[in-house]
Amino acid sequence: MEQILANGVYLGAQYAMIALGLTLIFALMNVLNFAHGQMYVLGGFVTYTFYGQLGFPFVSGLVMSCVTLFILGALIERFLFAPVIKRSSREESTMLLAAGLAFFFDAVILLVFGEKQRGVPKIVNGVFNWDFRLIMPYDRILICVLAILSIASFILFMQYSKTGRALRALAQDRTAAQLMGVNVDRYSMIGFALGAMLAGLVGGLLVTITGVNLGMGGPTSIKAFMMVMIGGAGVISGAIWGGIILGFMEAFGLAYLAQYGDITYLLIFVSLMIFLAIRPQGLMGKPWG
């Protein structure tokens, strides 16, 4: 049981971080960013290049992932999403744009980084072993702690900084925020860039554990959408709860259902369908959006 709980905490923390960026972008701009998984992969490859290939310290690789994805996110919002949102009131326009971006990133990643699975040296060696009841490599523990610290920092940033307050105002009511003097265009760009940066950060963190490859983007996006649906679209706390719930469901399912074959995700999807039929707005979302 100790092992299952530990696996659940670890999976939940990383999933919550993946979902945070997606839900932030949705909250601010009503954009379903299908390219979120590809941004995560890109973040992983940037850390791989700086830490794994060029030999810089891991932290600098992580910083480069954040900076690269922040700049990329800002450019994407400024030159792609903002013009589309201004010219088209149809929501599918941004969805199609996001899907196109996902394919574009896949092609760019293939060209620049190749098709192979890539990995980096372990950042910490050794395994914590409590009498074979709980086994957890130290690098997983470190990544889990860093993920939890990142989530806490993000919440504090959103709660107490001027930018965070402006972003929250924008998420609550775009028109009202504009009337109160919030520079909507500027903060939309910052919000999108922050969402992309979070994807880059978690990609950089997890490349030390899972490695990274071209094919990880799509499945990562699907999981992120699942978490956001569980927690409630556009709600920060919802994304965190969604990640934790999915992490624990996966950990318990794989431990207790493995003998019956690969039915864990089948049951998770069935549960999700039933849950959404009863509460379509998710755990923390409001029915009116």
Binding site: G52, K116, G119, V120, P121, R140, N213, L214
Partner: protein, 395 residues
């Protein structure tokens, strides 16, 4: 006036050089050979090594004047299609080959893709060389598919037997991704292990193809404490993560697979934890490799930046196609002639030292010659490179 003359001279020079270039291009007719396989996603390394092997070999042939079949010397053109490991895309790829008039195709790389393209290949007179193991593809009445490598039901028993005799293995556990290739390889592996007298302690644990964290998946398998953990049909992307998780969970037994792997990917993903990992390697070792194989490796590396050990096997399919066509040039447009030639075909193997031959095998597994003869090389990973554990022959 002077300016006009210069312009005229320039125009004439351009026209002449264009004609010269045109005549150079027209020197050799082109023989198109197709490739339909996976070159993106987690299993991309399998298809990319195919495509790059074919492109490197074709470039080599073209650079040295072309390939003579009968009275004609051809330049070789490789037409590639990424099926993304999706059977529907594989069918589309094979249809594209048919539309281009191609009769010889390498791939697909996986079971469901290879099975899906069979009707298209048979209806359009296409011989194809899959890297997939279902026996129905190679057993009569099927006759258009030729297995391009050693199958898991041929390599698995050889590996298990070796480990039973040399490492005292008595119990074995299998884990596979939840998709057709790995599951069928797992079932084949379980049957082979039981036939050899091994005790199978776990075989029903599977994982999603897109799993990135294998610790929860492996925990119940490793509780059974097997002497040997078999990663059935594991993709190069998943192998290092599985090995790493197993070792970090304290597993100290042997780990093996019947699929080919990539040394660099293993080193990056699992480092020293991958030491001792047993896999089927490319069909060559330093002792077996001829000068031609060494030149191929060099050309491939120069062309693409890095080599993939699996290409030691993947280089053969194109060679078999061309050599068989050379044996009877009528096969270029008629696969029935090609099939008839296969029964008696034999040619020197340029990639192996000694008097090794290119020939078709498969009588014992399929009842007809529908497999290329390549050596079965079983490797063990050690400190970033593969070392040869043993070499065997199929059929």
């Amino acid at each position: 006036m002077k300016r006009r003359s210069i312009l005229k001279s320039a125009a004439a020079a351009v026209a002449l050089s264009a004609m010269a270039a045109g005549s150079a291009w027209a020197e050799n007719p082109t023989l198109k050979i197709g490739f339909v396989g996976v070159t993106s996603g987690p299993a991309a390394a399998w298809g990319i090594s195919n495509q790059r092997s074919m492109e490197a070999r074709a470039a080599w042939i073209n650079e040295t004047g072309g390939y003579t079949i009968g009275d004609t010397t051809y330049d070789i053109e490789i037409v590639s299609f990424d099926d993304q490991k999706d059977p529907k895309r594989a069918i589309a790829g094979m249809e594209k080959m048919a539309q281009e008039g191609i009769h010889y195709v390498v791939g697909p790389n996986v079971d469901d893709g290879a099975a899906a393209v069979r009707p298209v290949a048979e209806a359009n007179g296409i011989m194809y060389f899959p890297y997939a193991f279902p026996k129905e593809l190679y057993t009569a009445p099927a006759s258009n598919a030729v297995l391009g490598m050693v199958a898991n039901y041929q390599s698995g028993p050889a590996i298990y037997k070796h480990l039973m005799e040399n490492e005292g293995v008595k119990t074995v556990a299998f884990i596979a991704a939840n998709e057709s290739d790995p599951l069928s390889q797992r079932d084949g592996g379980v049957a082979a292990a039981e036939a050899l007298g091994l005790e199978v302690v776990s075989s029903n644990v599977t994982y999603q193809v897109d799993t990135t964290d294998f610790t929860p998946v492996l925990t119940p398998v490793l509780r059974t404490q097997p002497d040997l953990l078999v990663l059935s049909g594991v993709s190069p992307a998943n192998a290092p993560q599985l090995i790493r998780s197993a070792r970090e969970l304290g597993y100290q037994g042997l780990i093996s697979t019947e699929t080919a792997q990539d040394a660099q990917v293993l080193q990056e993903g699992a480092g020293d934890l991958a030491n001792g990992f047993i896999s089927v390697g490319g069909a060559s070792t330093p002792e077996l490799a001829s000068d031609a194989m060494r030149e191929f490796v060099q050309r491939y590396t120069d062309m693409f930046g890095e080599y993939n050990d699996e290409s030691n096997t993947k280089v053969y399919a194109l060679e078999y196609i061309l050599e068989t066509l050379k044996a009877d040039p009528a096969g270029i447009d008629n696969v029935d002639v090609f099939k008839a030639t296969m029964d008696t075909f034999e040619a020197p193997n340029p990639y192996m030292v000694g008097d090794a031959k290119l020939r078709y095998v498969g009588d014992s597994s399929f009842g007809q010659k529908r497999q290329v003869a390549v050596p079965l090389v079983v490797n063990v990973f050690q400190d970033g490179t593969f070392e040869t554990l043993f070499v065997a022959e199929v059929d």
